[in-house]
Symmetry: D3
């Protein structure tokens, strides 16, 4: 199991090689998915909006009443150190996701075999972005499919907390992947409005107006927020509201946002082409350009450079 040039992971106070970053089988994060996380990324090896991500992380922690002995400042320092230690391991054209994770660790009764394990497991790690695997999506657009399974309702567990409980989203993925392994699943909420996919937000464009599902029903993505800011600066109207399949089927353009995708154009929704068949559509294109300008790094070219 000796792995050369391994990435370094922060785990409960120590920086360890990734192959040694393991958790006990009784960790609540494993047994129950009783854990939250957040994920920031680098652009051209620089961390993007870490503070915003950590504030969202804190809201997830509060929702589950998880109280690690780490402040936002602590997570900031650890994240920066983890990135610094791992940057030498990737090429100049690659970039990282940097997830922070806190689980409810081991309860007193489960600590017998791991007497020193804390009651909140804390992890900060690095994972290279899957640039090549996604390049095609920027050229052809994403095929979005809405599975029949509905997104967990806020009165059961809020989609706004980013947790280790992903089975509802995975059930959506399984339905969609069985029909089309390249498609992206976007679940509808309990009322049949578009909600979200696994870690991604969706935007529709009608007559120059952008619409995205209300925060109540989705994780409020940092890229979603960035996109709304940019659209506002470009003079477009942006609205959080319930959008359904009628909206989807009559949209001019659509795109997906996420920390890693930034903005990725949608080709079709349930097999229906959008009003504009350009990929990306004209307004999506302007937003992508503005996004690239704003971060000062051409992540769009970074993705598409992987097209054969």
């Amino acid at each position: 199991m000796a792995i050369a040039n391994q990435r370094i992971v922060y785990l409960n106070g120590a920086f360890v090689p990734e192959s040694e970053a393991l958790v006990p089988i009784k960790d609540a994060g494993f047994k129950f998915g009783d854990a939250v996380f957040d994920t920031t990324r680098t652009f051209g090896h620089k961390i993007f909006r870490l503070q915003e991500h950590l504030e969202r992380f804190e809201r997830s922690l509060r929702y589950l009443d998880l109280k690690p002995k780490y402040s936002i400042g602590d997570f900031t320092r650890i994240t920066e150190e983890v990135v610094k230690r791992n940057l030498p391991l990737i090429g100049p054209d690659d970039d990282y996701w940097i997830p922070q994770r806190v689980s409810r660790g081991l309860s007193a009764g489960d600590r017998e075999a791991w007497p020193d394990w804390p009651d909140t497991t804390v992890i900060v790690e690095c994972t290279p972005l899957p640039l090549a695997a996604r390049a095609k999506m920027y050229r052809d657009g994403i095929e979005v499919i809405t599975p029949s399974v509905r997104r967990v309702a806020p009165e059961m567990a809020s989609p706004r907390a980013k947790t280790h409980n992903y089975l509802n989203l995975i059930l959506g993925d399984l339905e969609v992947a069985a029909q089309n392994p390249d498609a992206l699943s976007v679940l509808l909420d309990r009322d049949g409005n578009l909600a979200e996919g696994k870690g991604s937000n969706i935007f529709l464009i009608h007559d120059g107006r952008l619409r995205t599902p209300r925060e109540k029903f989705v994780l409020p993505g940092v890229s979603r927020k960035v996109t709304k800011e940019l659209a506002g600066q470009l003079g477009y109207e942006v609205e959080d509201r319930d959008i359904d399949l009628f909206d989807a089927y009559s949209a001019d353009e659509a795109f997906i946002t996420s920390t890693s995708f930034c903005i990725c154009p949608v080709q079709s929704i349930n097999g229906r082409a959008l009003g504009s068949t350009d990929i990306p559509g004209p307004l999506t294109k302007r937003l992508i350009d503005a996004y690239v300008d704003m971060v000062g790094f051409d992540w769009y070219a970074q993705y598409t450079s992987h097209l054969a």
Copy 2:
């Protein structure tokens, strides 16, 4: 970290000391709670209804499209071996839970640091039952509280699959524990009917008739099934149906079933005493006696022996 007389865990093909039973931080069971489990137990050191538990385990696996390379027969043999290896570690008056677990392990992209880790992590382990901690509940009855958070609806993720996604139930526990740390949380379903707590089923008794929530909204407990069989043999009517707080507040008796609880009497629901204030109530008492007879082991005495 050297622990003497450690329990043995089956992990991905090997029997290892519990302190070495860990999973990578990128295991899907940790990152997403993308895993299922089941738990059988011993009575007087003998495994109880392992076949039934493994059949339920198989239905959970199918629900999530998890395909470990292990048959029910394999899990039977491993479970028996794990119990055999661990029995010497507990006293004659103690007993074990034996959970079987399968997660979606490591995806191809996440396997870099753990090249040999499988795409389905398989675990079988032993945990001593918390007999002393629960003794008081058999004497005084359980205080049941229904939190405001609703049980995840079947159209989002079926409660019938026993998975590593417990946050919805944990949110209920947090609400209840903040008011009364000794109370047991039983969530209502989306329509306001009693559903279930973390790994437990509830029964109400009215005029000699037993009622328990429909399987659609709860994990179909093996002890729930045993109890229904015994009640039938004793000549009581048993019905699966929607039961709500009106039913709860007008019940003569109530009890909780689970693999570890078997049958434990309820003292109150939302602070309301039941019609019969005996603990256990007369019909509950008959069922407990029948349960003890059926398994041939006095688990009730085992629990209450821990009362000072």
Copy 3:
């Protein structure tokens, strides 16, 4: 437009060649789908259970307060005459659907251009069964997919009435056909239970027990009823109840019933193979055989004779 050997249609009192069977563009059946129908069929050129179909037809008429001046006896005689006139047009190995239809015809204000058109349009017609096109389904089983659109709820318009308002079902078909043109759409109801596809019912089999959605949420198919009778005679338990995707994914077998399909095996649901991978599964096979015996005509061989 002269068509040789045309089929004959009964339309508002006359037997006319099919090419002359047209309705005004202001007929309520066209403008609003304000019409109901039913469809019986022949087996070996003999009409099957016409009385039952016409009784269901009458319930649909009552639901919409449609009052044609025709009794069940009238529809019986017309249906028999329409079949008699059209049987010479098909070969000995073919069979017919025979739909009866009643729309709200023309209102007083819409009758200007068609002064003699009645206020209830009445149609009885014949359509050859698509035997060849479906043959493959009997060999391979039907691929069932549940679209994201939900079946119209009974408090909005009852699925038990067979009407000319099929858009909800067509929206489901469009979702599914975009992914897999050979698949059959089965919509979920408002609560996420399996409901029905366009004119078909679904059955699941678990441990020798048959389950089919409750009549409240589906058209109560005559073949569904026949199948339940046959299963009862064969000693199987049959239950109308809410069945959801957990039930679907853990089923041993599944099949579709309809007037034309009779019983057709299901291969997969949302891409998940069933417990028994035989097509048809063993219990489905026994029901198909019993169905063939009961009608005294081997419709199964009739379908499969069209394979290569």
Copy 4:
């Protein structure tokens, strides 16, 4: 069947006398209500906002994935021609509705008797407005009743598409007409908010503020939009939002909008008089006047001129 001075209908490429405008009984628009339409009107023989109506028509077409070989420009030209040909048939004080309709026509299998019928049936026709029949409503106000049947929910079939599936609305009409044939049915949505009647929108006025149901739950009427624009110009606040029976019973005024009604005052809702008992109420009166000014034609006088 020779009708003198018949209106002319555009049907699948030809201008035909209305009595020859028929569709095959197998047309999907008849069998399934699988069709969409829109309706514009003339004011003083001039077509009103045809472009807006056709854009809405296009969204309905897209929702059902109907793809006629006609552009908006084609529909514009045909509509104008149909009006031109039919204007000589009405008096100077009358006006027309001009519906455009597209159904899914005949599928390949249904085309045997009509080999040349297209797979999208296209119709443009003219119907005189029912001025006399409605005159009384402008004098006395409309009696609105909310039936018990609920409007079809957007997750089942969007009310925003104007389709040939009207049974849900017709069920509402039947309930209401049985109690009061002069009353207008306005269905509540799944949550009990006011939605819409058959082709009409409702507005309430409280303290000078106009409120109308959200577009998600109703057809977004062109007259509804006109009214909102006019109200804005007159300095009134207008809001799309959920309005329920509490709002209805506490309203100062209310009115109905539709292409033909333009704005018609409401007398009562479920028998409850409104705050202002003038018909029309003062603010409704100002909107009617502004509407008349805007279109440059006194449609209000046109209606009321029919009062004996």
Copy 5:
């Protein structure tokens, strides 16, 4: 205010003339409707099934955690005494309702002006049955209308408890009475199934099978129970289940049950005549006869004797 020959009321321990039976304006039963009641009746001056009514009364008390210092035995004795004292005031052909009521009385803070008023107000009274006013309903059948307002859902307040909170039912009555003052309102439940009217249950008959809404959504009437017992004795199938407007519109017969109505035939539902137009229908007639036999008193003749 001196009223001759007044009825006697039991109020908080004393038998007082009705005109002196008043409660403080701060009684919780007045301020909040925080009270429960039940109502039995006499047949030919004899009390009917008092025990069953008082057991239901007790369940209502428990639901609201009301704890009057009276046992069922106490209420039995008081009820009998109240009847005995009031029987001399009615003629031989008249009969009484006898309601028992318990409110939460005065809280400590509200008792200043009534220092001796208890914390549970207890009332038992007599009211003559409105025989003449209802006679016509037995001859013509009841016109049932379903209003648009939905019955309060069990997760909000259970319809099974008979309380002083009737506004939801009164809102239904107001809707219906505005259209037809002679009609009876029967509210639908949250899912659109028939529920109940103010103090009455509904039964439908299809093909000799009786169906009535599930107890979960209605007050479980004693007459409802009696009717089910009688139907069973007569060999009819009786089922508690969700019944909706499709069931209503396709019913052969329907009737209403209540303590005072016993069984009263329905003429129409939302203006739709039933399958059998006899009043009462043949099966309803048999049940009425059996009901009369069972109580040994011809209440049916008692009602209809009031027809001019």
Copy 6:
């Protein structure tokens, strides 16, 4: 029963000592809770915003179609007179609630024993504010708990009408008081959003923005409105919107408003401390100060003077 220095109550046209303010047991307000009320208060013996309260009162009356023969002007005069007559009975540091109530009184059939009682019972009364009992809440903050029972939905009975039907809220109180008698119950609405407690509204504060539930689901409190006005004047953003437990658990501050509370800080929600642990939090403090300034009376000091 002679009480010295009794408060005076206005009852149906007369000013009577409180001990004589009683209603017949057949008053609809007692039997059915068929009544509405509103409550204003004094600050330093001066009535506050009576007009606004009476306008809300009028909307409640209209919702229930109650038509007392009293105008708002009449209620104003009576209220002022009732206050004037009762002020001498309290000390200079005390203040009054002044409820106005209208019930549907006695129907014709119920009026036998009270021939002169009207068909709308009208009451105006005075009740001293419970200043001492609540003083601790201003020092420590209110412990808010959300019970499992859901607030009655607007399609059943609108929470916007202030009626005598409080059982739904009382069921919430009973759940909460059983766990913590000092806590305040705030019910969730049917979708799991925070709604309201018995006569109180809740506000959350995030990053200087105030949020309170939409009026559709709560009584629109006059203090709620005052608070929104003050917050606007202080430059804070205020929004009516759906707020759920995620919002609650991530709030910086929270407070309760009501006519009597004005603004009272919240300590915790379901046992979770808020972001700011000061009581009151900084923004809440500013609003309290502004509220005190606006009314020109230090009600906050009035409450807290009762500490110690």
